[in-house]
Symmetry: C2
Subunit: 364 residues, 2 copies
């Protein structure tokens, strides 16, 4: 079975950095091999540099981003605990689902899809929540929610943030903003294939851990003795060795280029794309001032589709004729919105040029 390569301009995965694919060729080591432990330590150091945190408990969860979400929730929420959740897209909704499966009492604070959550509304929603949870970069809408004011006003609550699509793409300061638990994914702005979920956990959050997490696999207390155990590492589960090589390499690319330069590259691509779309008469979906550069949501120009084609047909032509993937809408905006990512190695201006050109050719 063979397949062509793609320019991955959907909501993730983006294209991986070439150095990352090369890293998959490194010889597989055992998960207790001193050389592997040293490499994992370096991965965790690099993660601290991109998360901008000193948190000792910073490591890649051995599963994809949604498992990172579940991991952060199940370690701090048990039956009856109150969590305030910001909901303005699929991933805020998912947080509510995950939290309710922990038996937590979920207080929803909603905002219309395409708009940002009001930080004050989150802070005012409950007098003493254990956790306030919000998505930094809503992958379903292309909206950035402001985190800093929530951290400033959180009081005794723990602040839990979804950074799947923000880490490496836009400024994010875990310690400075007072974020207690954050999770991300490898396949977005880090330029690594999907498979791991980098997380970081503050010491305050550790003090707030439930006595026994309902998940064995995601139990941070147990995993900590493997990932932060000093000299002797206790076996918990077998680490996904090759994916960790890939993440190590992706973080290396990001840090070599410089985090601010990588942000600037994502911003330049996003602005170029959004300007190009607006110039062509497209309407952007996300509210101005809170648009993500790395993920652009645009309203499907139904009046400009080629005769007989629906929006999925246009995406299919992009994929089959140009080898370019873009994403459709999710949930209530399915069929109404396209989601166009410029993340990781995809965040090159030439890709924006190519996509705009292809849209011109298809839509006329």
């Amino acid at each position: 079975m063979s397949h062509a390569d793609r320019i991955l301009m959907g909501p993730g995965p983006g294209n991986p950095y070439p150095e990352v694919i090369e890293a998959f060729g490194r010889p597989v080591l055992g998960h207790l091999d001193p050389d592997f432990i040293a490499l994992l330590d370096e991965v965790n150091d690099r993660l601290r540099q991109v998360f901008l945190t000193e948190n000792p408990l910073t490591f890649p969860v051995s599963a994809t981003g949604s498992a990172g979400m579940e991991a952060t929730f199940v370690n701090v929420l048990g039956p009856g605990d109150v969590v305030v959740v910001g909901v303005n897209g699929v991933f805020g909704e998912r947080m509510c689902d995950v939290a309710s499966r922990c038996g937590a009492e979920v207080v929803r604070v909603e905002a219309e899809w395409g708009t940002a959550i009001d930080p004050q509304a989150l802070l005012d929603a409950h007098p003493s929540p254990k956790v306030i949870a919000v998505v930094h970069a809503e992958t379903s809408t292309g909206v950035r929610n402001d985190i800093q004011p929530i951290g400033a006003g959180k009081g005794d609550a723990l602040l839990l943030v979804d950074c799947v699509t923000s880490l490496g793409g836009i400024p994010l300061e875990i310690d400075e903003w007072g974020v207690d638990l954050a999770y991300s994914g490898t396949q977005k702005c880090l330029g690594v294939p999907p498979g791991l979920s980098p997380v970081t956990v503050s010491n305050r959050a550790i003090e707030g851990f439930v006595e026994k997490s309902q998940s064995w696999y995601l139990d941070f207390s147990m995993i900590a003795s493997y990932v932060t155990g000093g000299g002797a590492r206790a076996y918990h589960h077998t680490a996904p060795i090759s994916m960790i090589y890939a993440l190590h390499a992706g973080l290396g690319v990001v840090l070599d280029e410089g985090l601010e330069n990588v942000h600037a590259r994502h911003r330049a691509c996003g602005e170029r794309l959004q300007d190009g779309l607006v110039k062509r008469g497209f309407e952007l979906f996300a509210q101005e001032g809170n648009r993500l550069p790395e993920l652009t949501s645009v309203i499907v120009p139904l009046d400009r589709l080629p005769s007989g084609a629906d929006e999925a047909g246009v995406r299919r032509r992009l994929l089959t004729e140009y080898g370019i993937e873009i994403g459709g809408g999710l949930g209530p905006v399915a069929g109404q919105v396209w989601r166009i990512g410029c993340m990781g190695h995809t965040a090159r201006e030439r890709n924006v040029t190519m996509l705009l050109g292809a849209l011109d050719e298809i839509l006329g």
Copy 2:
């Protein structure tokens, strides 16, 4: 950071097949790309061929083997459900932990480490359990537990089997033996790096699913609409694309060689190793008749260690001087047992020759 390659003769990971590492180089596709869906379908077909099952719900869980364990438990066990668990090593113990975190009532049936579980004792332990759970190949002891008699006598119970170290290494017949839920790992006898957990679920087990699994990430009902959804696949979480390429390639190697031939290769290596150890006066730990060929447990010859060296020192010399990894004992047999794997691409007789030679050189 660089590291040498290793001959991985511990309890897993084993060395991956070269074709598997090559597959990591395939261009990353989106998880909803028709070409990726076709490849995933082929992975699942190949898994059915190695599991020897017709179960439609057969796919790789997007995390390592222990997540496969948790996934099978959380989908069929809720508060108050009774599960009988066979415990004769670390992984049977882990099953009890995972099941208790589901709120299930756990009935333990123990056997001494190094011996096999009595199938009749499992069947007699409770009049009407919802689930009977047992480990096929106990990676902590090198013991094979008999599955077939449990399936024959299970009645209305669901039979849940840990096949992490058995799949691809020794005969395993999911449908013929009446196994309802099974999970494995990629890094053992399939010759793929760690990162995925192939699972298979019978239609009877699907009927027994809890109303809502406590885990969102491992919720089989939701995942099923992505992995077995026919033409239209519902997004659940982003599949770990590159690891799935690797598994696809590993299964291809196994099926090209032929499942019985792969079993024979593992058996030949195990017999050669075990004969070689016995000839040298070593005592095998696992009971005769239930020894795994792919994972040999041997009692550390404390009287033959080089003066001043402990067992860990011997393993360290194997690693640093020969680049050979073998495993130490876990839990109650830590320091007393070595665990030597011949799995996947490691299962070559030349590796047995090398290890026995190295032990001769170190132990004299």
